[in-house]
Symmetry: C2
């Protein structure tokens, strides 16, 4: 296929404009057709027209109490001393229509029944205890506008004014075609080189969340002829939209574009957004077809930025009200951004003191957990080279700000059991969110007032003491509390069966080692142990090969690149490796005094000191809770 | 049935405590059981347990680019002048597993293929263009906590780490029994005395919105024996909850309580909330049964305050995070509140300048449109006698505050065609919200800075001029613009066929008249016309009978209480009455200068001046748009 350079990597707004224009050409920029559905199944659907009251509600003057219906004028002169006996008074129950020539109801307890009639001692005002016709809705009055998403109470109002069905937009129909020979469905265990296909699940759910109806076809292998056939069959079903989900190969994208073009027009071949570049947009016959990139974050963001707004438009919802909520937040660190792209960065938000902070999550297009963990999406617009730490950015919220204020934000060293702690905090109505920047990074965060607390395990070479010497040196101007999270076991992660027979630190000189980066707590531990045993670091092969996480170390061993590395036991267990214990270290939480009264911190401290949490944590291999929850004095 | 006084009208918190205690006794205060469901249908469901990664993702080191896989160490000394030829280099496509003993990928464009091998001129860093095993998720890592509402991206994360099904709480099952001999279903046209039953639709939708599953049974007439049988059949199906929806009669409530008690225990017979008093709570066999009051607002609020939280609890969602959003707002007017009740008042919210204002809507328990129109629920707690204008109140939000700021708030005289204007404003992404306080009330609102604009039609008796004399007298210190909405036709609303042959104002002295209240624009018009024709108001029978809306006037005529009243043509049309024109009046919008630049006001002004809007308005009987949108000078 001939490459159309002018279609490639165009800016987002231009890609959207081309799609809009093409839809207009085929008269598909308007809402889809409507259908009448029963009120029982109408919640969440969008009204296709304004609904005006067909009849008033109540549709007659109704008694609002059990009692007697009277003409108010007849009661005008009743007093305690000169009671009035009413001839025209009629018994009514709540809801009964008022008899002719009555306009008020007297409650049973305010009258006397006598043989001569009803005797009263007080006048009543017109319309007392009467629900007047139209009190709720007046025939011809607007009850619901068009483009309104139906809620439970709306069904009541519609039924009350004479509807039993409601006119809503039909659900836009979307056919989803996953492609890629390397893909396997979620119910099949993938082999190396095979990838679980789940973009179709995410996009189908996005379509349905926006009010559409999705059909997922089986995975089509990388074969132009097969894809052509599948696309044609899909076009024959005349859906509103077809999504072709790319596999990972560049080649498949090229023939996807060609096949779309064969029966129509290619509009866009690559959009300058990050992540998400290889988005394809075209019209086949008269149906829009979108080629969705294969990387999961790119696929999900294509869904959010291009596909969901399209469905919203087809459902006649005005863009202004139904767009996502936004806020302004302060970036916690510098981010470089490609100058030509609209860059969407997933961030965790934290309200620390008065500041709303945005901490960027992993930016990889393959890291779907960055979307799962995100509180918001920071938009770094085209023509920006990035943002500096402290800059204000616009964020699109994934959760209301009120939930963010119910979060406790921890920075510093990561420990897998923070997740366990998070579970306990969750049950108390708060959330624990984290950014993993290493122990020393945690100290920096506290200094900058960017976290409610920091996690660290910093061994002081001089004293063999944990954390306190660093805090005295680097945070002595900030009043803070130090609380132990846990002691954890560090050791040598080795291949299954320990084939190199590594038993102590002296063995490191005869194997291929994989190290942690400078400043990591685990690196400090290694250097301390080497010094103690009088081993020259340069005598260790691989000492200069630095990795940034416990798992990267474990992965190097699992894949045979190295024989040994220092790390926590849980990393070895995660990758099914063996573990040679070296010793125990103390992992502490450092909490500035100013945050101690934060309700989430109070909950966290209570949990650390609860027996149920300690029991749960000590059941994990490599954790010792004898000091968990204890406050350590910073002298 | 013997009345249990101590169960009657207890405070809300105590009613909830009794229910909680009873549920605990029967071990029903815990989440319901779980079920495994396919990811495809899991969005919106709640995880019943924490989900930890079953395998890492990627589950192998994968090439992130098309190119050649190499060992980074082999490239260390490559330079422009001293290229390196690699023996161990293997072609890989994106997604391929890295061959053994490689740890980086070089892109095709950065190497030369020669007969001797791959030639490079730059070193590469370890793991360049490689997606490391576990980059996204590490086996054993927490992916989703328990009690988490699944979103589209969550499905991707679960599938990516080895799940194709997810453990979620089953949907709590609720059986709904509407009762009342006066009730008819929504698809049947009700006769006077009959009421459309729609509380079951609202409550079923609330149950399903919260994640439950509702079954609505046919309407049971007011007959204890029949209700007993229906309840027993429902109990036999062992749902999680049964709702008995009361009809309007007091009697039915009493035997509902008795029947619940026959097989269990009555816990609560009346809750001190307003609206909603006659809530019944009991346990039959071991199943909670709630008797829901018949008035629609009472029923819907019982759903929100008592039933939805129960379902949320059964779905294991922690209360803190999933509760509704709240805010603080300033009341626009004084409200009296019964001292013993928790009072829930529906309010419209408006952001006028810097202030978030709460304007109370109709407080009637029968007015479901007050819930449809509400932006929030103001909670006036027990032991308060009410609030004064200007007091701050806590409100539970029905829409995010961001939507509120996209609202234009109008106070003053009501015109039915404000709804039409609202429709047009909606299409531009804004909302028009209103509070109807009469023309003079609109002037007060502008003076107090409580509205973006006011609607009015005030005839000055002296000059025969509309609105401007009033503004000069009463708002001369506030810079403002006056823009005409429309001329409207006022006239005599008379019975169908005009049986009393009313043709002009002189006829009023020989019929029964129904008047508007002092200060209403329409009342001023009548008084002006009477004066002009030299008619003594006291010569008109019913002159002192005041009604507060156009429709109340029309209703008095429709029900034969009066023969004639002055009002707009649309009120006559609404109730199918006849109309004798008297004249045209000008209805203006008054907009303080400080709000002219508000984007919503700009949109409103554009719409008033658009031909499509004028065409739509002039098609309505009784509206003349020759001056619509014109700005009138206030000299």
């Amino acid at each position: 296929m001939k490459r159309n350079i002018y279609l490639e990597d165009i800016p987002l707004h231009e890609a959207q404009a081309r799609l809009t224009e093409a839809l207009k050409k085929y008269n598909k920029d308007q809402p889809v057709s409507s259908e009448l559905i029963n009120l029982r199944y109408a919640v969440g659907r969008i009204t296709a027209e304004a609904h005006w009251a067909k009849r008033s509600s109540p549709h007659y003057h109704a008694a609002a109490m059990d009692g007697y219906a009277v003409q108010a004028q007849d009661t005008l002169y009743a007093t305690e001393t000169q009671p009035v006996t009413l001839q025209n008074a009629y018994p009514v129950n709540t809801g009964d229509p008022l008899p002719d020539n009555t306009n008020a109801v007297i409650m049973i307890e305010n009258l006397q029944l006598t043989e001569e009639g009803i005797v009263i001692t007080d006048p009543v005002a017109p319309w007392q205890h009467v629900r007047m016709m139209g009190e709720d809705m007046i025939a011809t009055e607007l009850v619901l506008p068009a483009g309104h998403k139906l809620r439970p109470v709306d069904l009541g109002a519609l039924a009350g004014c004479g509807y039993h069905q409601v006119s809503v937009y039909r659900k836009p129909r979307v056919i989803i075609i996953p492609t890629g020979s390397e893909l396997v469905p979620a119910n099949i265990e993938p082999k190396p080189g095979q990838i679980t296909e789940y973009n179709s699940l995410v996009l189908a759910a996005q379509v349905e969340e926006s009010g559409g109806e999705a059909t997922i076809l089986p995975i089509t292998p990388d074969d132009p002829e097969k894809l052509r056939q599948v696309l044609f069959d899909a076009l024959d079903q005349t859906p509103d939209l077809i999504l072709i989900l790319s596999g990972s190969s560049a080649g498949s994208r090229d023939y996807t574009a060609g096949i779309i073009q064969e029966n129509g027009e290619l509009l866009v071949h690559g959009v300058a957004v990050r992540p998400g570049h290889p988005v394809i947009i075209g019209m086949s016959r008269t149906i829009p077809v979108i080629g969705v990139p294969g990387y999961p974050v790119s696929a999900a963001l294509t869904g959010e930025i291009i596909i969901q707004p399209l469905i919203t438009q087809w459902l006649g919802m005005n863009a202004g009200i139904h767009t996502r909520l936004t806020a302004k937040a302060t970036m916690t660190r510098k981010l470089l951004s490609p100058i030509g792209d609209d860059d969407f960065v997933r961030v965790t938000l934290a309200k620390v003191g008065e500041h709303l902070l945005a901490a960027p999550l992993n930016r990889g297009a393959g890291v779907i957990t960055s979307l799962v963990r995100a509180d918001a999406l920071a938009h770094i617009p085209r023509f920006s080279e990035g943002v500096n730490a402290g800059d204000e950015v616009d964020v699109i919220l994934y959760r209301p700000l009120q939930e963010i204020t119910q979060s406790v934000f921890i920075m510093g060293s990561h420990d897998p059991m923070l997740d366990l702690l998070g579970q306990f905090i969750n049950q108390q109505g708060f959330r624990l969110t984290s950014a993993n920047v290493g122990s020393l990074g945690g100290i920096v965060a506290i200094r900058r007032r960017e976290a409610h607390l920091a996690g660290m395990h910093l061994l002081d070479e001089e004293t063999g003491e944990y954390n306190l010497p660093y805090l005295k040196k680097q945070l002595n101007h900030i009043p803070l509390k130090v609380v132990t999270f846990s002691h954890r076991e560090q050791g040598f992660i080795v291949a299954r069966g320990n084939p190199k027979n590594i038993t102590n630190i002296n063995d490191l000189t005869r194997v291929r080692y994989v190290n942690r980066q400078r400043g990591a707590g685990t690196r400090l531990l290694l250097d301390y142990e080497l010094k103690r045993h009088g081993i020259d670091p340069l005598s260790i092969q691989g000492y200069e090969q630095e990795e940034y996480t416990h798992l990267a170390v474990a992965a190097a061993i699992a894949t045979g690149i190295a024989d040994c590395g220092l790390g926590v036991r849980s990393a070895a267990i995660a990758l099914n490796l063996d573990f040679v214990p070296v010793g125990w270290e103390r992992y502490d939480f450092v909490i500035p005094e100013e945050h101690i009264t934060h309700p989430g911190i109070q909950i966290l401290l209570d949990i650390l000191n609860s027996e149920t949490f300690k029991a749960a944590l000590s059941m994990q291999p490599g954790y010792d809770t004898h000091q968990t929850g204890q406050i350590i004095e910073v002298v």
